[in-house]
């Protein structure tokens, strides 16, 4: 690339992390390190029923026997699990807010800065927000309107108190506590997260949203989200993530479980913008997340859409178990890595039922010295008659020091199944930028156009507000991308 256009692009995309402020509020943390006492402490703090404590302890004992997975295409120094604090609650919230008015104004300011539509803006936007600050749910808006429709949307800690039967039935039903190293750790120590239940035949009247933010230093965030869509129901759920700038790496190991019964549909969208570390690779979040949905019912549908721009390391495979006949799984992903970021992300589509369909559209953008990996599994079991999968997996490279990798696993045991996988690699080339500029389009716009054009199929899946945010995020994240 010519030095002129290189400079142009560098200037244009040289923006710093906008969300890296630290909120100055007192927080109450458990001492660093993990043992059964810490787990009992978490459970007691949350006044949990006995079954949950037992489940946590079983998970912890299992975790002790496990080893960190090494197969992902990422490299990082070993995580010191004893240096992490497994519980951090903003102190002023010890007794829990009763309404928005009781929420620490400092926190509300934080959300203002993050641009979360929590107050009137939320009402205007028609979005119900559950905000998880470090590990505790802060406030859930629009509870009343939702409860009129019979929708339960609350922190999972609250659901444990108010709807223990639902929690007991579904918690760990999609991601068992033995699932993998990080999911098992999460099962032992999760502190909060969102809980959604959509009753039979109900179309959730608004989009539900959760914003996650890690604030305190040296804390791990282990939220747990559980969404159950009963027969014939529909819900669209949005998840946003940010974290302050810190030198140390912070661990985020969440678990999301989705359950869709007959004819139900869940649409789960994520815009992940955890702090990615600085341009030298210092700091940033380790995002080791297990997300999985089970299409249990006939004609059910689960759709994952993700825009991943943050985190130092992302290790995440939102998956769908297509158990119900005629069920549908979808995965739409944009993963952008820059500087020293590493992403190993993709999906698993496990076809078990008849006439099940899945679609995978993955767009990876690598810039700087980053490594971006798509890893996916499509498996059709012997009973998955007429299963169909289509996978399109594209990589865009910006700069010659980054990496783009594709590891698709296709396993078929079903002769009537049809599976198609395609992958391409392209780059933003000097001559493309030159052409744009020659036609009067400046380099900033040209890069943005090319990148957005590349991601269009995925952005089209996002709710409007998120799509706008996603566009903006991509531009911001491409700092120092061209070289």
């Amino acid at each position: 690339m010519s030095s002129q256009s290189q400079q142009d692009v560098e200037e244009i995309i040289d923006r710093s992390y906008e969300f890296g402020f630290v909120t100055d509020i007192e927080s109450e943390s458990a001492p660093p390190g993990l043992n059964e006492d810490v787990i009992r402490l978490i459970s007691t703090k949350k006044n949990e029923p006995e079954f949950l404590l037992e489940w946590r302890l079983r998970a912890y004992r299992h975790w002790l026997k496990m080893r960190e997975p090494k197969w992902a295409h990422v490299h990082y120094p070993p995580v010191d699990f004893d240096a992490i604090s497994y519980y951090s609650a903003p102190k002023s919230l010890k007794d829990g807010p009763k309404s928005l008015d009781e929420v620490d104004p400092e926190l509300l300011n934080t959300y203002e800065k993050l641009g979360i539509p929590l107050h009137e803006r939320a009402r205007l936007a028609g979005v119900a927000v559950d905000a998880v600050f470090d590990s505790v749910s802060v406030a859930t808006t629009f509870k009343e309107k939702l409860s009129e429709a019979g929708v339960i949307f609350c922190p999972i800690s609250e659901a444990i108190q108010t709807h223990p039967e639902l929690v007991k039935k579904y918690l760990g039903s999609v991601v068992p506590y033995t699932d993998n190293f990080y999911a098992t750790l999460n099962s032992a120590v999760f502190s909060d997260g969102s809980f959604v239940y959509i009753p039979k035949g109900v179309r959730c009247p608004m989009e539900l949203s959760t914003y996650f933010r890690i604030n305190a230093a040296n804390t791990g965030q282990f939220e747990r989200t559980l969404i159950i869509a009963d027969e014939g129901s529909y819900v669209s759920y949005l998840e946003g993530c940010t974290a302050p700038m810190r030198d140390e790496n912070q661990l985020h190991a969440a678990v999301v479980e989705l359950v869709a019964l007959d004819n139900a549909e869940i649409k789960y969208s994520t815009v992940q913008n955890w702090y990615p570390g600085d341009e030298n690779g210092k700091g940033g979040i380790y995002n080791f997340v297990t997300k999985r949905g089970a299409c249990l019912g006939k004609h059910s549908k689960i759709s994952w859409t993700q825009v991943e721009t943050g985190s130092a390391i992302t290790w995440k495979y939102p998956s769908v178990i297509l158990r119900g006949d005629h069920s549908i799984g979808e995965f739409y992903s944009v993963a952008l890595t820059n500087n020293f970021q590493q992403a190993d992300t993709g999906t698993k589509m496990l076809h078990l039922g008849k006439n099940t369909r899945s679609t995978i559209i993955s767009k990876g953008i690598s810039a700087g010295k980053s490594q971006n990996t798509y890893r996916g599994l499509v498996r059709t079991g012997a009973g998955a008659e007429n299963a169909r999968n289509f996978t399109q997996c594209d990589s865009l490279l910006i700069g010659d020091r980054c990496g783009a990798h594709t590891f698709p696993y296709i396993e078929s045991r079903q002769p009537s199944a049809v599976i198609e996988h395609e992958a391409t690699t392209s780059r933003i080339a000097e001559d493309q930028l030159f052409l744009c500029q020659q036609r009067g389009i400046d380099a900033e716009k040209a890069v943005s156009m090319i990148v957005n054009g590349f991601c269009k199929e995925v952005f089209n899946q996002l709710p409007m507000e998120f799509a706008v945010e996603a566009h903006k995020l991509l531009e911001v994240s491409l700092e120092n991308a061209v070289g």
Binding site: G399, G403, H405
Partner: protein, 442 residues
């Protein structure tokens, strides 16, 4: 080192003792290095990513670690029917891993071309062999390591610069039924000088219920501008294990073309690794496999683009029926600075039975930005519209299925460079397809 690896290592050392050993320290060092690489890697398990779908545990459980009994008259007689037609070609026949002179034909060679059994070459021209041996096998592949540890039998071919070999070299590796299990570890080493041209046809065959472990390594070292075509036909064998490795190193502007036709074998694994070390090299890798009965056919390929301006093209197609299990793992690795690389890879499969399985994994690992890479994989069945069309034109469903299967695989047969091999392979494919499609629907 695990106990099973240690046990195997002892077995291999026993075999090593009986090798014809020209007294050459470098050769002993070479063998030792091989064994220590194996000791380090160990016998792969299903947890080893490259062996996730292929189980080689029988190698630890069964005693394959002995040489075959001496080649008998009967063996030689049987081998005759496997020879390619045409007598003028250089032809080398190995029965149960041993060079069989009576069946072989090495014509008078001109221009300094060398074609001789490896055993002889190690004695006659150790310098030349040493210069090339192991050059292309860079990776710590456990079975290539064993092969290195047991190096003795096989073939050495040297094509001097600018020499064009007009006739393809035929190599037959045949295993015949014996009363005991045995293994063979032949090494075929092909060194192609600057701008030389040659074609090699390898036929790996096994008779009936031969329960042998074939661990063949073929090594190609291509100097600048060399052009090599290699076709490999694999047939026969209802039992036993065939691990067939092929390692290619390509210098500037060289071209390598490979055709692998896998029809036989109970457990068959092909490792095909190509490395471009200098700019302008290209390769084209084609593969065809048909799995039936309880066959397990695994094709692993790796193309290392370690230099800029190289092109690779890969096309594998397979048909899997009955309880067969096929695996395809294609890896394209574009190194940093390997700009202007072009790579495309396609794997297409027809899965014809509810008990068959296909696992395919086309991988891209890319560390340079100015590259054109694509890959695709499909798994499907015969097209019902096409079947219907053929039936409306009077063909019964079996004939229609056979015809469509042949059409699916045909394009790979057409590309075989040797006319006689094409005819032979086409016949074999047709009869295999007939066998599969005539069976009652399961």
């Amino acid at each position: 080192m695990s106990a099973s690896t240690e046990h195997l290592l002892n077995n291999i050392r026993q075999l090593q003792k009986n090798l014809p050993a020209p007294d050459q320290p470098w050769l002993n060092t070479f063998r030792e290095a091989g064994l220590s690489r194996f000791a380090e890697a160990g016998l792969p398990t299903r947890k080893t990513e490259a062996w996730k779908y292929t189980n080689v545990k029988p190698l630890a459980e069964n005693n394959y670690w002995q040489n075959a009994p001496a080649t008998s008259e009967a063996d030689t007689y049987t081998a005759k029917s496997y020879l390619f037609e045409g007598t003028s070609n250089p032809r080398l026949v190995f029965v149960n891993g041993r060079y069989t002179q009576t069946l072989s034909n090495i014509p008078v060679l001109e221009n300094g071309v060398i074609i001789e059994p490896l055993e002889n070459a190690l004695k006659n021209r150790p310098g030349l062999v040493r210069e090339h041996l192991g050059k292309a096998v860079s990776e710590a592949h456990p079975f290539a390591a064993i092969n290195a540890g047991l190096i003795a039998n096989g073939l050495f071919v040297f094509i001097p610069p600018s020499v064009v070999l007009n006739e393809p070299i035929h190599v037959l590796l045949l295993n015949t039924e014996q009363t005991t299990r045995f293994s063979a570890h032949p090494r075929i080493l092909i060194a192609a000088g600057n701008h030389s041209t040659a074609e090699i046809i390898t036929h790996e065959a096994a008779i009936g219920n031969v329960d042998a472990f074939n661990n063949c390594v073929t090594e190609f070292v291509l100097e600048a501008g060399a052009q090599i075509k290699h076709s490999k036909l694999q047939t026969g064998g209802n039992t036993g294990i065939n691990l067939s490795g092929c390692y290619v190193q390509q210098a500037r502007d060289s071209r390598f073309e490979s055709h692998t036709i896998s029809l036989g074998g109970r457990l068959l694994r092909n490792d095909l690794n190509v490395k471009f070390t200098e700019p302008g090299a290209s390769c084209s890798l084609n593969g065809l496999y048909i799995g039936c009965n309880a066959q397990h056919i695994d094709n692993h390929t790796t193309i290392e683009h370690a230099a800029p301006y190289c092109d690779s093209h890969e096309y594998y197609k397979g048909l899997i029926a009955d309880q067969a299990h096929a695996v395809f793992n294609g890896r394209i690795h574009i190194h940093p600075d390997a700009q202007k690389s072009n790579a495309d890879m396609q794997n297409k499969n027809l899965l014809l039975s509810a008990k068959a399985e296909i696992d395919t994994k086309p991988e891209l690992e890319i560390y340079a930005d100015d590259v054109k890479c694509s890959h695709g994989a499909t798994v499907g069945q015969l097209d019902s519209k096409q079947l219907f069309y053929l039936q409306t034109r009077g063909m019964n469903p079996q004939a229609a299925a056979q015809m469509l299967s042949a059409a699916f695989l045909g394009e790979l047969l057409e590309q075989l460079p040797s006319e006689s091999l094409r005819q032979k392979a086409t016949k074999l494919v047709e009869s295999r397809l007939h066998e599969i499609t005539q069976r009652p629907v399961r």
